[in-house]
Symmetry: D2
Subunit: 330 residues, 4 copies
């Protein structure tokens, strides 16, 4: 069995750099090329990782490149993924596959089903959520009845980003929609979202909301609530509670260290990991590890194109619910 | 200032017994009489507390009786409260004031406004929720943005009780609706409830649901989610999370003791207080303490008739939302 | 069986007030008289509890008084206890029975053995330590191997008190020595104490120490360490760890409430109960409850004269170890 | 400045494998050679890491090899370190430098002082203890007054290992002695150890103890207690409490994940990391990172030969205290 794969990373921005370094450090992967049309990004990253700078065309045509990591701007995700798949590459594509649901759906014939296409829903690879999922699947709390996902960012992104982000549901809650589907174990049939702009009026001016509680319901009656906010005031808040017939499974936030300070102001724990690249550093490594296993034929993609479309459907339904003030049936 | 009050307790069932004992032990209160038409309940309780057995008529007409605790079956709450108020007594009435919203509203002229009528929403007197409320009011997390109330019972009541309970929203979630109003600081304008029967099909046969996630929204955009289940599998789950502009206030469950066991199965904490009479034993004492202060003119009722009606409105709205599958505007 | 007992409390200071109020509120006890020669203390307390002011002679000679709570200054504990026992009363005597070991031992013929004499080692009645003890006795961690007792006061007492206190070991650690014996399940044969004065030089000038780690060893090789400090800087620190063959039982500090604040400074828990009268309020109630059971013949004293002498022996041994810098064999 | 270093690892056992893989994955280091005379160990490890198999002589004489990791059996540590230093290599030597204090001291002229020799006291590189140390140094709890180090292994090693281990103090507690010195900030002047064999009689037959509480005292009066056991029953117990004038800093055990299970048996946390290679996986990476910085001249060794000798002195003093039953003055 083949055991060593050459990889190209397309996009040398924040996420591309993470993937490139994880590929470079992985014993089964070799980072061959970095692609980024913007300034010196590719050159800097290539120098740091021992890779070469290349172009998207060149890596598509290089038979030695077995896998491509698509970490370019969102509007190029779908196009580059289609081209890479057509060239016979395995692909790890950052989320979302596209901001437009119809456009994404249209690619189902080419991207859906069983293909070596892994979508970058990094939280599925998180140690803590993974442990919760395993215990849930093992029946530790019996059949799942309801779910609570708390997902609050430390602080809102710049307004310039908010304007092109696709909105809170597609940009931020998309991860939570995927996690909800992953844990619920059946498809959502109803979506209701209550949302407000409480964090920053500029977000409302940009046509978006910053605070939302979204309710999902499945055919068998399982209920999930997702709590989102663009600003927590205390770090990255990423928690899950899964209620079953026999009890609760609960994944909590990750602290910087186990050190507590007991002083005049009461017992103070160390801070929560504040930045998503810290909180999910290990998950990004596991994601790349899984990508290697997919290329080796040892695993099917844990999250594929169809999952990406389903998450996008939920995001659009939530946005529509906010617009109409009513429940959206799927 | 008057400083010692004679009290009659009407109803010697589970809750009546709690109130009678707390009255008897309070330095400013004297339990004079116990009223209960059923069997030996009154006699037993009177013997335990040094009170006499009496009738509702007799205590109404006894000028020495300054306050009456109404802890009778729900269908007598409103009638007895009206009569006691008419007789010039101070009243502590167990929740709900009535199961029927229209009936309750009709009593507003007599019971509403500033009167010595205290409604038994015991959770407002809980040490933990009280601490959360004080810190919220003190601005520790800035303006409130959203709220999460988790309120799961250890195990469902008997089906015979479910049938006459008025349904999950009026019987169980009514406490949570009151707490939501208490913390939100403004009235709710929209209610949406997703509900299922997942715990016991007999509950569905009785026309009720056992699992619900209810979303409340206020005029300024604050959002509250209430999670209810008739069965937790791990004890009484009573938690609140209040999200503000500067952070989160979080009240957790109360453990039987601080003792943890670290063994082969991992670190195990002591059990959660399982029964509401244990979890809220101190709150019931504080409630009676507050009732004494109300009678002494030192405090206005922390929760009065108008609050009871508002909570009932939310319960009816939630039930209607479940029936129609849509949002209910208030 | 007799079921209602009249009680006199001797000493209306801080601890006497606690006992008097707990006696007054107990359904099986009646506080008949309060005795205190100093100023208005007795009158104030009697007014608050519905008791009368009396003298020690009078309560000794009152056959209706079945039990006496000795909460006078330490130098009167032994004398009053001897007189009360001679008068046929049941006695709850505050710790220590005496500051002088030889004097205490001399009373063994009269006070030792099985008598209705309960010593006020309040921590044995604490809910949390009680739960630990029950689980230990039930074999949850197998045979005990070692023990860690952390007992740090919030802040040192006034120097005037330090001077007459008998020293850290007899005044403060005496509780820990009793707890060690209670949990170890066998007598201590070796004592070593390392001690310093780090909190306040005035304590050293008064001839005392303020920081100590004391090691106790039993014949079978069980080892206990007690950590003491006169000042914690974060509230009353009262923890126990009991290590057995199959794991650890761990009693932690008690928080004011379950409310946590998550903010910019990290997650902050509510404060530890700071004052021993708060931390042990429930234990003092349980102690009086137990005293009632002792008087009713339903229980033997959980902690008696012989325990008080043994704890005093350990305190003297620890002080001697500090003086000599060596291990003391018992 | 030189920025890439070739490294040889001597010893391909459990610890040597860890170091070799961390060296291989580090961007500034290249694993050139693996040395191990036993069977296929070296060949296997070399194949996994892309290194070559070599001999100790060869790597000493290879000018390209800048650093040597000594992870051979303990009795070769000192000899190999001396030879490697003589050959001008930087050395990372596993603890202990030697089991014999006199032998170790004799090497002070060659190994002591400021040399590129890093001793493998991995806990100094732990994220959690590092955070505690930084907060202590920053004065968050004021001057340190006392210290509590809890260090219990999950389960005892094989008796064959116990026999050659040098005893609990030199084999296991040596880490705690180093940590105590690191945190106390001044040298220990008195050592007292109470010890027993409670875990397994075979350990006593092998001449060792398995349970110990050791008290260290410094000239200024700071007191440290170290709790050791060869078997916890609940995983690897590695905790520190540092008491200062203004409060407490407390490092707790590390859990496998943040997932808790709330069920009929109470709230259960995920297990503690059980194996030292898991608990300290990140610390071993940071140690190699620091070794790279030492070679680059960017840092002085955080823990050097003199520290290793001092820790050995404390271990010998503790063993002597157990033998004599008395305090040992240094």
């Amino acid at each position: 069995m083949e055991n060593m794969f050459e990889i190209a990373v397309v996009g040398a921005g924040r996420i591309g750099r993470i993937h490139a370094k994880n590929v470079a450090a992985h014993p089964r992967l070799r980072l061959k090329a970095v692609v980024d049309p913007v300034g010196d990004n590719a050159a800097t990253l290539a120098a740091e990782t021992g890779a070469v700078v290349s172009t998207f065309e060149a890596v598509l045509n290089d038979p030695a490149v077995r896998g491509i990591v698509v970490a370019s701007p969102t509007d190029q995700h779908l196009d580059q993924t289609l081209k890479a798949m057509a060239a016979g590459k395995a692909v790890l594509c950052e989320k979302p596959i596209d901001q437009d649901l119809a456009t994404a759906r249209a690619a189902a014939g080419v991207l859906g089903g069983e293909r070596p296409l892994l979508l970058g829903f990094n939280r599925r690879f998180d140690r803590h959520f993974g442990a919760l999922k395993r215990q849930l699947d093992a029946g530790r709390v019996g059949p799942l009845e309801s779910l609570l996902i708390i997902s609050h960012d430390p602080a809102p992104p710049p307004i310039s980003y908010v304007k092109v982000s696709g909105g809170l549901f597609k940009d931020m809650a998309i991860h939570d929609f995927d996690m909800a589907r992953y844990l619920l174990g059946e498809e959502v049939t109803e979506v209701f979202a209550a949302a407000s702009c409480l964090v920053d009026p500029a977000i409302a001016e940009a046509g978006d909301i910053d605070t939302a509680k979204t309710t999902l319901k499945t055919a068998s009656g399982r209920i999930c609530v997702i709590s989102n906010s663009r600003r927590s005031g205390y770090g990255y808040d990423q928690r899950i509670e899964a209620y079953g017939a026999k009890g609760l499974l609960k994944a909590d936030n990750v602290l910087e260290s186990t050190v507590a300070h007991w002083g005049a102001e009461g017992p103070v724990l160390d801070a929560f990991q504040n930045f998503f690249l810290d909180r999910y550093a290990e998950a990004y490594r596991s994601e790349v590890e899984h990508f290697a296993a997919v290329m080796a034929g040892e695993a099917k993609p844990l999250v594929g194109f169809d999952d990406a479309v389903k998450a996008l459907e939920l995001a659009e339904a939530a946005a529509q619910s906010v617009k109409t003030g009513q429940v959206v049936k799927l």
